[in-house]
Subunit: 335 residues, 4 copies
């Protein structure tokens, strides 16, 4: 029997992307859970079959036999819904920041509000398959990584693990994201006339995604400088990572570090020396693309990583996690 | 009598901007010099008076009594035209990279072709008024700075001068530019369908603007990592500069470094802590805007500088140099 | 003594543009009137002098001796403020739709709410100088035209007046506007991720600007089809007008109609046959540019008109009206 | 055995889209035919398998047993290659304008050069399945429709057939296209800095797609006014069609005309009254979406149609034609 999965927050950009990707997935059926009232605007397209919708209640989830719920909701809503959905017998992939950090104290420090579900926080698995593939299949609750940390950790952790970073000099990660990363709720900051023809840095040194990078990469806060920027485009994240390399003779050596670490990984693509990914390379895909440069005289190194923030940075990775949790091939519905 | 100035390359983006700005300048008349044949497309607007155009020859420049010529041309054309224009009695502001570096060897190393005018290279003044204000007024030939180096040096040199940079850790400059920086000549790289909805890094660690930054800032190459990126917008440069600060207690201390250095500077604007410039802040202006962040616990510092690449990064700064050379108020036509 | 003028709604896009243009105007001083509370965000730029602000009250307007108030406010606010400002002795240029239509009935029919100031509606002069230049100087209250109607009427009225339109076939006006026309208030419709890479028609046949076009052009509703479209860009309106020409042998004949009507007009620019304006032609200017095509075999004619919706379509035209009202040269501050 | 199909012009935007869509098609294998030399830039992505490429010669096509060739080439190249490919035993879907018009005279009049293959022109089937579904399966050579005419004819032919158009008043079609419609070859007209933040009309009344609309819709040239416009976005066409309706009481009546005509059509979607498609509705799909408005008092009617110019307007429709020619389900690979 085909398992059923459900989506809360299906009108947000991550939620819409989840629906789009699940429509191509051959091993699950999906339903929508109505968490908040919606304006009852009629359907635009004539004779279009409305999607299958249920109220977002434990009773409905139980009655429908939902195997897994995606929470594409803000952290405070996820903290409220995750225990309810788990209690109704569903497993949960949460796309918010609610369950990504390891301690309530760390959460409170970066999210500026107390964590209301410390037991679930302790239980949650971090859903970055390339580094946590063992802990995801048995988990009841998976915290889907943030978009910036996904691109950052996939670029940074292999070089930290391999010991090729001069940690005294630290790592700089200059990150640029499309506007969909800010969500669908209208605000002046994401209004067309404010964003178009414009570009700006924000949350300099204090973005709430920083602790996720530290936690996964093993860097200390003093070793890592991160700035987020807003690009005048819809989707995509590109991060430019700078460090001093130790013990590497050139770009091929640096690439070899990534090749060893990512051998067999279906969603990592490396670029030949002199080539670098751009946002179109990864748009609407679950790939993370990586290119590198290294000045052999001085050891100055640059790594560029690119993802689609709504796919590998959100909905695609959530489905990758679902595939691992439900025992499907990891790439099902994602290639 | 109102001095006459002339523009070569008036169809390029910097040239068009020069014409636009000179139309508002009350102390000079300007004429256009035709260096290459142009398609004789008729005028679009009915009864519009054609601009005053002359052939780009020493004879015409002499006959017309041109006091100063702007070369908004590629470096190889500037190397050809600069001696001719100087020979005709005009002073020259060159907007290309031809005369910015101090030695022919350095030029050859970064521009991948020999310098054909080493004597003029030795003579040329570097036209960054905030740091070279004394050498510009008497100069016959001024090398107008590159767009990236203008934003970089205005952010970096004050902190290097003040000795607040941990130079062992180096400085990272992550630079992002609008497409007009690549010039008007059609190419696939600047085609709408390749640039729109896209973002990419280029010339990583080996951009030809790097030596200008080293020359002005006093950094060694091993201390400086620079990556250029192409933004999907028309105009503007934003650079995010990372370093480890020494001897600064917080953002106010860092701001004080800039305030001291830029006291009285008409085109530098500093931002209060927590505020940062964006590209709209500086669009169509000759300002360079600077904002800073500093983590007092760890000394990690970030400086954001923004300019309009066609104004402070090209035509506006060229007029600022002209004002200094011809004895006008430095801000004439630019506020 | 320099007259003082004031702006209500100075944070909206038209208001910001008014401030920008008034800063260049040499014959008036301007102050800002605070109509609603604003979040007290501190100034971004260090040591920047805050603008001169007053409460938006009749007392303050009287005390300050304000000669003229610009209302860059929604119609319901304009209906509330116009009598108060007039009562305080100021003249008013209203940029909303409140006072543009001739009868309260017509207003109620298109704006879907009753008009609360019918006496002022009867008194107001319509501020399209090219067609109403006599009634503006003596007026106490001028209704600044809508952005779409400005471009439409400047294209349509000359050909209707000249009798060269086959009115049985009607006139089609297909209008496209940048997003700033929708105002600064955040909404999903003007969110970056909804507008970028997108294009749509709206208010088909029932846009509230239609009656302004009928009123000025003399067309009956059944003779005029109008559709508005939203362009993925910040500013600019381009309208493509279709009709069957009578008695014209070719494009030159059609141009001659406009040339006769607009002889001496400072803000109208006509294009030679085969040339047409685009939005960049008029960006940040008070011009209305017009180009025409005519198929002499069949009489099918097309007229393209372009304006900057925030300048000739709002703030620039408001200043043009102010210039007429206060006896300044009509082009002061606008060229 | 899986049939093999081949693509000439696989680097152009339509060609790239063909490759993307054929990768999802389960019933054919595809190869690339190298018609012109290409710069031998190495592959960007490491260890990526290069695509299967052959020289574009009749011998290679024969030897490989190619069943069908897509020509995504300019008309003059298509006129040269079509007979060669047919001679090698392959059937041809041509995406250029070479074989769309019925007579060499008409071709010469609109394309401004003689037609060199009049016999093939006479033989070619016009590949608009919704109106020519019978003639496509047996055809050796199918002329894939132009992008503008696809959206225009799908909007216009049903109402002309149904006799609900007041033909004396004519039909206006105001068409707007993304930049990819202009092809991949770099030119100033499609440079980012010329197109971004801009919008313009072009080829007014004399676009070479006009005769295709006349041919399919049955309108006479004097009954049809067409203007193309260039949108600052990558892909998509939206056309706004204006006419006077006869015998229709309201929008539901007009929709009923389309519903009857398009019953069972897999790629036509109609919108409920008050709803209209936008470009995002159809991006990356083979749908043509249609919405309508009708003023019942005056008969003024507006129809909005939208397609993705690279899919239903080029590569998608070419595959739809291939499906018909090779006996596959019409929607294979396209939903």
């Amino acid at each position: 029997m085909t398992p059923k999965v459900a989506i809360v927050g299906y009108r947000g950009y991550s939620g819409v992307e989840l629906v789009r990707l699940l429509e191509r997935h051959s091993r699950v059926e999906h339903v929508l859970l109505d968490h908040r009232e919606d304006s009852g605007a009629g359907p635009a397209i004539r004779h279009q079959k409305p999607p299958h919708r249920l109220p977002c209640s434990p009773e409905a989830v139980k009655a429908e036999g939902i195997a897994l719920v995606f929470l594409a909701t803000p952290p405070e809503v996820s903290m409220e819904l995750a225990p309810a959905m788990l209690g109704a017998g569903a497993r949960v992939v949460d796309l918010s920041g609610a369950f990504r950090l390891r301690t309530p104290e760390n959460y409170a420090a970066w999210y500026k509000e107390p964590h209301t579900q410390p037991a679930l926080l302790a239980e949650a698995a971090y859903g970055l398959p390339e580094f946590c593939r063992e802990s995801i299949p048995p988990a009841r609750l998976v915290a889907n990584p943030g978009c910036y940390p996904t691109a950052a950790n996939l670029a940074i952790r292999p070089i930290v693990e391999a010991g090729v970073v001069d940690r005294a000099a630290g790592i700089v990660c200059d990150a640029k994201s499309g506007v969909s990363g800010a969500g669908r709720k209208p605000s002046l900051k994401t209004s067309f006339c404010e964003v178009a023809d414009n570009f700006n840095a924000y949350s300099i040194l204090r973005h709430r995604h920083v602790p996720e990078v530290l936690q996964v990469s093993g860097l200390a806060e003093c070793e890592f400088s991160f700035t987020a920027h807003l690009l005048p485009l819809d989707r995509g994240i590109l991060e430019t990572v700078y460090f001093r390399a130790k013990g590497l003779a050139g770009a091929e050596d640096l690439l070899a570090v990534y090749e060893r670490r990512y051998a067999g990984e279906p969603f990592l693509r490396l670029y030949n020396p002199g080539h670098f990914p751009n946002l179109r390379s990864v748009a609407r895909t679950n790939f993370c693309d990586i290119g590198v440069a290294l000045d052999s005289k001085t050891g100055r190194a640059v790594v560029v990583s690119a993802i689609d923030n709504l796919v590998k940075g959100a909905a695609g990775q959530a489905i990758q996690n679902m595939n691992l949790m439900l025992g499907f091939p990891e790439t099902e519905g994602l290639l």
